[in-house]
Amino acid sequence: MTKYFLLVTLLPLFGFLINILFGKRINSEKFSGYLSSFLVFVPFFITFLVFLDFISVPPESRKIVLNYFNWIAAGKLSINYSFVLDPLSITMVMVVTGIGFLIHVYSIGYMHGDESFARFFSYLNLFIFAMLNLVLADNFLLVFLGWEGVGLCSYLLIGFWSEKKFTGDAAKKAFIVNRIGDFGFMTAMFLIFANFGTLEISGFLGNIAGMPVNSVLLTAIALLFFLGATGKSAQIPLFVWLPDAMAGPTPVSALIHAATMVTAGIYLIARTSVLYALSPTASQIVLIVGILTALISATIALKQNDIKKILAYSTISQLGFMFIALGTMSYGVAIFHLITHAFFKALMFLGSGSVIHAMHDEQDIRNMGGLKNKMKITYITFLVGAFAISGIPPLSGFFSKDEILYQTFINAGILPYIIVLFTAALTAFYMFRLTGLTFFGKARYDENKVHPHESPRTMTIPLIILGILSAVGGFIGLPHFTGLPNYLERWLEPVFTNANRVIQLYKPEGHHAVSVEILLLILSVLVAAGVIYFAFKKFSKQERFEKEKGFGKILENKYYLDEIYDKSVVEPVQNTSEFFLWKIFDVKIIDGFVNGISFYVSRLSIDWRKIQTGIIQDYATITIAGVVLIILYFIFA
């Protein structure tokens, strides 16, 4: 099957080309939608066959490098366009194409009647192409190419409805924040090339395997990659773009900003697990950032009223969980949570899309309520998702999240465990606030104007499939004490063998009684169940909404983070630059950290522009001044 593997990436690219070039001319929603979906399904099918091939061979030989052509050859640098097939990349490809396919199908219904229908599907296919390159690539440059490609698609899709006034800004913000992350990625790449003379991932990982633990170089590379990961996977401090990115169409939020693209950072760290295993310092930082992000964004989610914003903050928080797992060096667990999260978060986003669709673009949950009778399928599947993310057994989220809690407990200590448990409780709370306000109680909208109804079948079928997956997906990774096989761990094991070997060098295997694990499990289930009961009781009947006061207000305003970025970065910069300036110009209101940088750049730009007066005498003076100053510098230096 590997003979035809190139098709996996080529078909989505083909779909992109067809739709962008001829989509408008053909002007058939059926053609564009079904073609695109089909061209994502075939890759899934091929990969599935490869997967079957793989499980029939012994674990040691589960790695194939497919070399297509020599892409760059110049001097020392030689880079092949090659894919690596191993359990990790196959898992990722199946997640991307599988969930991608469902979301494509869903979009046929969701985007029905949009004037740029074909364009939307062409972008989706392009995204799948870029994402597959990212997860399959065998060298960092190709990974980076995919990394940039998914960023570009995300940019295009966030700004897809450009008539909405804020989508343009959101798209730009996302793009620029990611560039900061990319800067880290690129620098890491350059460091690797300068020191190891290769950009091949397996070659690099092989090279470093014998290096001492915690060397400065490896820690620097690991942290730079992590900077890239914080950009793409929306972690502190670069997470500000993700909530704004919800301005795009909902299927985009589900596909790119929940299930696939944002997990690229997790994939990157898992792929280079040896590197992080060799640098406990970097892993420690990953852990801390993960915990902080999970906690902070979960608290923000408590008081949000926009259905998609809640899910966005929840995504950031869950990504934080994955980074916690990575920080505790339990790479397989992170991938496990990545998979289950992809199921239930895609499910909930699509469910929210179904709700928004039915409510005629209303997104404020205070104006919903009582939808459970009007849209049964959406309600039931959404409820499954909410239980899954809250960690109610035996749904998928329960297994993956508890594995993370357990790993935190044994690897990081009691305090981090308590914080993470608390965050998990918050998750259950805001999810049931969301569910309660949306589906229960009385209708708080004008029933004469809005008539909610169940969505068409192209939308509900993906919901049902994802609902089933969210429910049973956890059984691929059962905890040890059950005595049943943990399929996922066994499957992924060959990928992380090297990392585990490194970890064992400096960290003896911890032995914890099975009873501890069971105890923790029961504790977390009790907490989740209690919180759910409380939240449900409180919110399913709430009809009035008062203005938030005190801490609630702080949460509602997202800790004033945008404003803090303003005050801490933008304003000092402003003040200092004003100090040097002879003229003050009207300050526009700047939103967020990113705009702060762009503001600073434009500020400098304005000042320097003044040199360009248009008077030739000035130019001559400055030129001569330049000559004299350079000469003086070189004579005296």
Partner: protein, 164 residues
């Protein structure tokens, strides 16, 4: 030898002084006439360097040709002689500062560098040598110069042509 030195300084001072006048005069005609002095003085310097042919060419081409053409142009243009041209100096202080700076630097290197000075050659005939060089070593620059002139001609014809 003393006469040589005296003559050199006479021509040099003349060249610099008239050049100053060219820049600072407020009347175009005055500027043009001052330029005559500058070019003439430079021709004198060429003579002192035994470059008689170049000296004559300098006078014939610049003084006899270009300068006369310029003065004609100025005089034929209505009223241009009366216009008080804008010679206000901008950035006086920085300009003075940096020009002085570069002058000091140049003077400094003029005196400190060990120049590659060729022994003086007495009164050789230069015309035939120049002719030979023009057709051998400097053939290409000579020809390319003609292309430059062609371009300049086309350009000025293009600007001078009446707009329809």
């Amino acid at each position: 030898m003393i006469y040589y030195t005296i003559l050199f300084y006479v021509f040099a001072v003349l060249a610099v002084a008239t050049a100053f006048y060219v820049v600072f005069a407020k009347n175009v005609i005055h500027s043009a006439f001052a330029l005559f002095g500058t070019l003439f003085a430079v021709a004198g310097l060429f003579v002192l360097l035994n470059a008689d042919f170049i000296a004559i060419t300098q006078i014939m081409v610049y003084v006899g040709g270009i300068l006369v053409l310029m003065i004609f142009g100025v005089m034929l243009t209505t009223k241009i002689a009366d216009i008080d041209i804008h010679t206000k100096n901008l950035n006086r202080i920085p300009a003075i500062l940096f020009s002085t700076g570069i002058t000091v630097i140049l003077i400094f290197i003029l005196f400190t560098t060990k120049w590659n000075i060729k022994p003086q050659v007495q009164n050789q005939e230069t015309v035939s040598q120049i002719g030979k060089l023009m057709l051998t070593t400097y053939l290409l620059p000579f020809e390319i110069a003609s292309i430059v002139l062609l371009v300049a001609l086309v350009g000025s014809a293009m600007y001078a042509r009446k707009t329809k």
